[in-house]
């Protein structure tokens, strides 16, 4: 049986050893391209070398060792990289994706108005509103796309929802609050887009 099998492989190999004919003019085509070819620069050779696809022969053990080495490098990199500290009011989104949102409250009797929300850690002293002669208070805040709840803090202690915006369901911190949604395309609900 094995003898027959070996005979079969030998017959296959013998058939495949027959010369393969190339099309007419092959040599001329090669030489035409050779004559027009330029010797590449060192940089071009280096670039060609790095982008040349290669097949890498790797044993399972070698593959495991390489995977372990990569995992080790990633772990060390993660440990060495400083962990960002969450700062109230600080946005982790890229600055270019943030949008300016104007918050306005009509409170002619108020002495001071601040804006507090989950974008500034509900800090009642971080975002003061400016007062216009008409009694309008306003502030502009850069907000990345997202949904935020907020309220105005009037005279240091009174939380007032934005009358021009939807109310937040459940009202954080037990105080009435409003909702602003900042979209990626500049669309938003609540607050006022600039």
């Amino acid at each position: 049986m094995r003898r027959d099998n070996d005979d079969l492989i030998e017959r296959v190999a013998a058939e495949l050893r027959r010369p393969a004919a190339l099309s007419f003019g092959f040599e001329a085509r090669v030489m035409a391209e050779v004559r027009s070819a330029r010797q590449p620069s060192a940089w071009a050779r280096a670039w060609e070398w790095v982008r040349e696809p290669r097949m890498v022969a790797l044993s399972p053990l070698g593959g495991l060792a390489m995977a372990a080495a990569i995992a080790g490098v990633v772990t060390l990199g993660a440990l060495a990289w400083p962990t960002p500290v969450a700062t109230p009011g600080a946005s982790t989104a890229p600055a270019e994706s943030a949008q300016a949102v104007q918050f306005v409250l009509h409170a002619p009797q108020a002495r001071a108005v601040f804006l507090a929300g989950d974008f500034n850690g509900w800090d009642a002293r971080q975002s003061p509103l400016a007062r216009a002669p008409s009694g309008l208070w306003f502030v502009e805040v850069l907000l990345p796309p997202g949904r935020y709840t907020y309220a105005f803090v009037v005279d240091g202690s009174r939380f007032v929802p934005d009358p021009a915006a939807p109310r937040a369901f459940g009202d954080d911190f037990g105080a009435p609050s409003s909702v602003v949604i900042v979209g990626r395309g500049g669309n938003q609900a609540g607050g006022r887009s600039l």
Partner: protein, 193 residues
């Protein structure tokens, strides 16, 4: 490789180094001597490896041109053939990887078909077609190892130098290629009886 220069370098062709020196000295036309010397031998490998004559010619042409452009990097010009073959093996691998995204084709020897004209395909032609069909169904790495070992008749050490694979891996590939070819072709032979 009977009747031709060994790729292992045991009997290096004496003229290769001289031709390479002439080419590097500015005699570009001398390169035609190397093209004529190796084109038929390497065309056979490329045709069987890629299973398509047009792809094979492009791979071979690409290998010749790349070899010319990098001729100064050929460390041992007396073994130009071995160096060129390594380039061709890599070009075939690259083309094979690209071709796998397209529909797999079988070898169609257009010249042979033209010669055959309107005569019916004889038994020899049918047998060859079955071989080519079976070859095309092999994993490319197995096909490559089988061709290098049984068709080009290289030693495993030379195959290892050409492919970058270990001898043990190459032996395994050759064995699996043979097993697969036996399975595929014995079915054909049994059906023909």
């Amino acid at each position: 490789m009977p009747g031709s220069e060994s790729l292992s370098g045991v009997t290096p062709a004496p003229d290769d180094a001289a031709i390479v020196r002439r080419v590097l000295g500015g005699d570009v036309d001398a390169y035609a001597g190397l093209v004529a010397r190796y084109r038929d031998r390497f065309a056979r490998f490329a045709v069987h490896m890629l299973g398509d004559r047009e792809d094979a010619e492009e791979a071979l042409q690409d290998a010749f041109v790349r070899a010319y452009r990098s001729l100064a990097a050929c460390r041992d010009p007396s073994r130009f053939g071995s160096w060129l073959f390594r380039i061709l093996v890599n070009r075939c691998r690259t083309r094979e990887a690209l071709r796998r995204r397209r529909t797999r084709t079988f070898v169609r020897d257009e010249l042979a078909l033209e010669r055959a004209g309107a005569t019916p395909v004889d038994e020899g032609g049918a047998w060859r077609e079955e071989i080519e069909r079976a070859l095309a169904r092999l994993d490319p790495l197995y096909r490559e190892a089988f061709l290098l070992k049984h068709v080009e008749e290289l030693e495993y050490e030379e195959m290892a130098r050409l492919t970058g694979a270990r001898v043990s891996a190459l032996k395994m590939r050759v064995k699996r290629a043979c097993d697969r070819l036996r399975d595929l072709l014995q079915e054909v032979e049994s059906a023909a009886r």
